[in-house]
Symmetry: C3
Subunit: 348 residues, 3 copies
């Protein structure tokens, strides 16, 4: 699949500087791209390679030196790279239909061009949109609703009544809508609180392998449009996750947490129940958040605190033994000084 530089520029929303008719058939790095391929300059540190790369064209910003090469100028070359990689590597989806060995319950509706593989089990009254791919050994419980262009990888479970938006991808083994962890104590043992809510997942969400998203106790656990969740994360019952959030692997979010839009949670970070995290906040990996976080704040550590202040504290931490020793010596010297000044009444 080849395109002219001009066609690629239009696709990327950029403009050509040089020969717009150059033909491009693929993508490579500054170092390994060959003639007929396009590459990109995202890190200014490598600016000099624009002159010497064997690629036929380069995507770069208006601020970069072009060295007279054929280039496409864009605002965000890294984004352009992602788009070009998608363009040159995506293959047309082939609808396999409902294959033998798939089990379909009663009252199920299935849109156009499905691929439903052997071992997939679709319970009763499930509603499936168009161009949906359901890999082997996926289980959809009663009343699940899937939007269009959804991909569910092998081993995914979606529990009763949960609703998945359009263009959602859920990776292998993820569980959507398992019971929230709610029990009433009677002093000795634990009485289960029925978890009768659901999970609603917005459009363009991606959920990683073996991640779990629990159904609400009474109402709805929500994952906002465009949010991306990595592997092995835990989203507890009643959470309200905003749009376009990034949740890295092994994050744990306790019950009834609210995330504003475009929040970033580093790997293994944890958030205590009922906390509210403001939009654009960033929470560093392994942090433990025990309360609310303001919009735009960057926090780290357990308990989490402003990240820059935290770095300063962490830099002092290794001096703790020395500090304690110094403190002891100072106290001794102080006592000596005080005794010298006023021997009869010095402080103990």
């Amino acid at each position: 699949m080849s395109k002219t530089l001009l066609e690629l520029a239009v696709y990327l929303g950029g403009r050509v500087n040089g020969d717009p008719s150059v033909t491009i058939g693929g993508l490579g790095t500054l170092d390994n791209a060959v003639a007929g391929q396009i590459t990109f300059l995202a890190n200014p540190r490598y600016a000099a390679k624009v002159e010497t790369t064997t690629a036929s064209a380069i995507v770069l910003t208006a601020a970069a030196e072009t060295f007279g090469r054929n280039v496409i100028i864009v605002d965000n070359p890294y984004l352009a790279f992602a788009k070009l990689l998608t363009f040159f590597t995506s293959r047309p989806r082939i609808a396999r239909g409902v294959m033998p060995g798939a089990f379909i319950g009663v009252g199920v509706t299935i849109g156009t061009e499905p691929s439903i593989y052997p071992g997939a089990t679709i319970a009763d009254k499930v509603c499936i949109g168009d161009r949906v791919t359901i890999h082997p050994n996926v289980t959809l419980y009663d009343g699940v609703v899937l939007g269009d262009d959804v991909t569910l990888h092998a081993g995914v479970s979606i529990r009763e009544g949960c609703r998945i938006g359009n263009r959602v991808t859920i990776h292998n083994g993820a569980v959507i809508g398992s019971d929230g962890f709610g029990y009433a104590p009677d002093g000795q043992s634990w009485f289960k609180i029925p978890q009768i809510g659901i999970v609603v997942i917005g459009d363009d969400v991606e959920i990683g392998a073996n991640t779990t998203v629990d159904r609400a106790a009474l109402e709805t656990t929500r994952i906002g449009r465009g949010t991306k969740i990595d592997n092995l994360a835990q989203i507890a019952h009643n959470c309200q996750i905003g749009e376009d959030c990034i949740i890295v692997a092994q994050v744990g979010i306790a019950g009834s947490v609210t995330l504003g839009r475009h929040v970033t949670l580093g790997g293994q970070a944890a958030i205590v129940d009922h906390a509210t995290i403001g939009e654009n906040a960033m929470i560093s990996g392994q942090s433990g958040v025990f309360g609310n976080v303001a919009a735009g704040a960057i926090v780290s550590g357990t308990p989490a605190m402003p990240h820059q202040a935290r770095l300063k504290c962490a830099a002092v931490y290794p001096y703790l033994p020395e500090m304690r020793k110094s403190l002891g010596k100072l106290a001794k010297r102080m006592k000596e000084v005080e005794e010298r000044l006023e021997p009869s009444s010095a402080q103990a």
Copy 2:
């Protein structure tokens, strides 16, 4: 399904104050319950709402003001709420039998009223109790034993020889009886120690989605009656988990740990191998426990320490840079004072 207030009071083990013949058909909150519904007061902060709620009756404690409303008086209104929610939302289980697409090995015994869904695979010599529900794509290996009223959600695996008690629920993707992580070092590489023990899970246990419980090396990994485990937790080989424990999501318990009864482990907490945690101990989220914990203790942090002391330390932590600076200044001032007092022999 409607009941009189008196009937509900009997079910809850409480007593009516007001009209025992009032008919109740459902449950709501203090704010949203409507006529014909019952609500509950668990948090004294909302006591005034008892007067104004549109519910037909309220569950509350003997200490609460009734405002002349129809009430049920109980010791634990939150527990009563859980029981009422169960009562009004539970639906009768329908036995589906062994459905086409389920695979049943040789020498398998199955009790009365099973529901075994397509894609469930039951290996040889498995023994299944009464009223058991096995969802799609569950795998039971040879010789597994399930008690009565067990529910195994889609994607659960139970490995060879493990035994599950009565009224146990295991959520999607959980793995019971995978090999413990045991190797003998030969200095260069690792020789696997066969893991030939089993897992035994007591009655009334609930295990969360994608949680893993490893089989013992030689004997038995045990989960005590009534214990509740959240999602994505790891219980290593040979652990002896007591009764009525609460183990929140992403907890990691290393090999041969013993938990007394009614221990609480917060999310992402970890316990080092061979530690013993006394009954009723509470371990805060993200804590790292590197030794034994006494019965009734409340600990937090890594390494874990008494929680109240930890909070005081954590409150001082942000002052570390300031403390180090103060210490440096004090040392300098001390030297000046000492030189002034005895210029010729001041300490360096």
Copy 3:
């Protein structure tokens, strides 16, 4: 299955001291072994039990007192125990063939003596070695390659094009080759970077239940020969994991991390993206590694630092409130001393 002491010594690479013709039919501990069994002394603390054990023979080192018993002398009795346990407990593998209810795609090649269980789904062009066991509800995507003597437990998914070496065991629910977590930000939302690389797993690797290993963005995520990974660990895209590493449960390794050979990562430890960990390094449980670690280093804490230094700091941490108080008192006393020495110009 009985062997003479001499035969066992040959198997273990040790030598007999005593009667080489003694017949051994099994294995026990120093405390519970009976006549006809062999036991082992690994911990010198129990040396006296060699005299009194009812076992017929003991495996021990040349340094141990034999008390005139029949013994096998080896360098590493714990390793010998693992080997004897394997010898006495392993049962011959029975090839079940491709069982009804397994789904096999087109262009699949399968070696000799397979066991492929019901509900296993093998997509097109998969290549399977000899003596491979594929349990129920395993899914192999297009083009997967499995070596000889591989065991895949129920619920495992291996994504398109990934390659698994010889004698690899993957436990239940593990996911190999799910998409790496890569997105290009456009300031508001996230554009997916196609993950078109693969995962290559070396010979003799073992991977725990519900662990996830992501495919590379463009090239290869690698797990080196002999490495053992516990349950619920996350290995992100493009990681290069060395040979004979030990990765304990719930470890999280971010993208493009390199581990040298024989690295040990304690449970819940995390490593930041692009870090390099030198061979034989040890990283303690729950540590957060935010940069490179030198070969042979032992580190702990978040951020990780040398372990011995860390222990000293952690020992001082509980004194923080007391230190801050002391510091305040010292400053006050210092001011008083300074005022006494030079009342008019004392420092504030």
